[in-house]
Symmetry: C2
Subunit: 200 residues, 2 copies
């Protein structure tokens, strides 16, 4: 498959997940969002499971690009920008549908080794990115060293997971969690506890 076709099928999978969610998704739904037939999809991918595994890899690559820190910026700026990005609001119905599909995939973790390995990669990437920023901030003296960078990163990843789950399951306002997370970082991590330059 050339990369153009792959891109098209990955985009089609995204659109189909937004419209149908995960559980009821059929190969036909993905074909409907592309210029290819269902038979062509089956030629490239043995099963819906294989296609969705590929899709998780595709998501991972684009997530990795999106969250890459700008090394020219100060660590505190990097951290607040990452949080902005992770909590970016897009309250369109299709976005909520997509997040729901991802939560459905997360609930498959215990049953499905392939999915779980990919979910672990996402989890680790986010954790390690945050840990690296916190470590460099601690070295530069911008951040306090009362807690380890590893523990802080772990806690922040948990908060982000919680915001996503509550957003899907009870339509909770993610902006509220963002505000409390920024406050947590300001008070527990910033060496001067300064509130200037923090996104509102």
């Amino acid at each position: 498959m050339n990369s153009e076709t792959e891109d098209e099928l990955m985009q089609a999978t995204y659109s189909a997940l937004c419209k149908n969610g995960y559980a009821s998704l059929r190969m036909q739904d993905i074909a409907d969002e592309s210029s290819k037939s269902k038979a062509t999809l089956h030629y490239y991918y043995d099963s819906k499971h294989e296609l969705l595994s590929e899709f998780l890899d595709y998501l991972y690559e684009s997530f990795a690009e999106r969250i890459e820190a700008d090394e020219d910026e100060a660590p505190d700026e990097q951290l607040f920008e990452l949080i902005e990005l992770l909590f970016e609001r897009d309250d369109s119905d299709s976005q909520r549908e997509f997040r729901t599909a991802i939560l459905e995939v997360k609930a498959q973790g215990p049953y499905d080794d392939t999915y779980r390995e990919k979910l672990e990669k996402f989890d680790r990437l986010l954790h390690d990115s945050i840990q690296a920023i916190v470590e460099s901030g601690q070295k530069e003296g911008v951040f306090l060293t009362t807690a380890s960078a590893d523990d802080i990163a772990d806690f922040v990843v948990t908060v982000i997971n919680g915001a996503q789950t509550r957003h899907v399951s009870v339509n909770h306002d993610v902006g509220r969690t963002k505000r409390m997370l920024v406050q947590y970082i300001t008070e527990q991590l910033l060496a001067d506890g300064a509130t200037e330059g923090i996104p509102g």
Copy 2:
């Protein structure tokens, strides 16, 4: 239905969810865990959906009883005990299966008004219980008033949701989140920031 039969069927639903998860659960699986036939189950409940809705109500009642605070205790003790209880470790496979089933139900929130209403009740109960404890602690001067009890409760509920989601999806250690949450409360909320009497 008498309450004994109801209890039996709710226990059977719990066991069946532990064994089968949510998506693939059939009425037969629940009947298999009880002394009743599948026909009897269908006599009481029109559908699997109706039975599971009842089950969420049953869970809610038992959760409400479990988390009821001991009003004779100091608010900080009440809060730490609630966290102990919420993070109680039971790493048996069946418990993880059950939590997975609950995450599957959470992912149904956007598609299913009945489930979502019940999930909202759980979310609100936990939020309101924490808020009440924090408020009384703030009144008594045990807790700081820098953040509102409402905001703190909201943040703690998010952290708990995140711990549950990561536990299911990537087998994350919930004990780690508990430790960071206790640290958060100690440093952000306790008026004297004392570390005595805090569960380890």
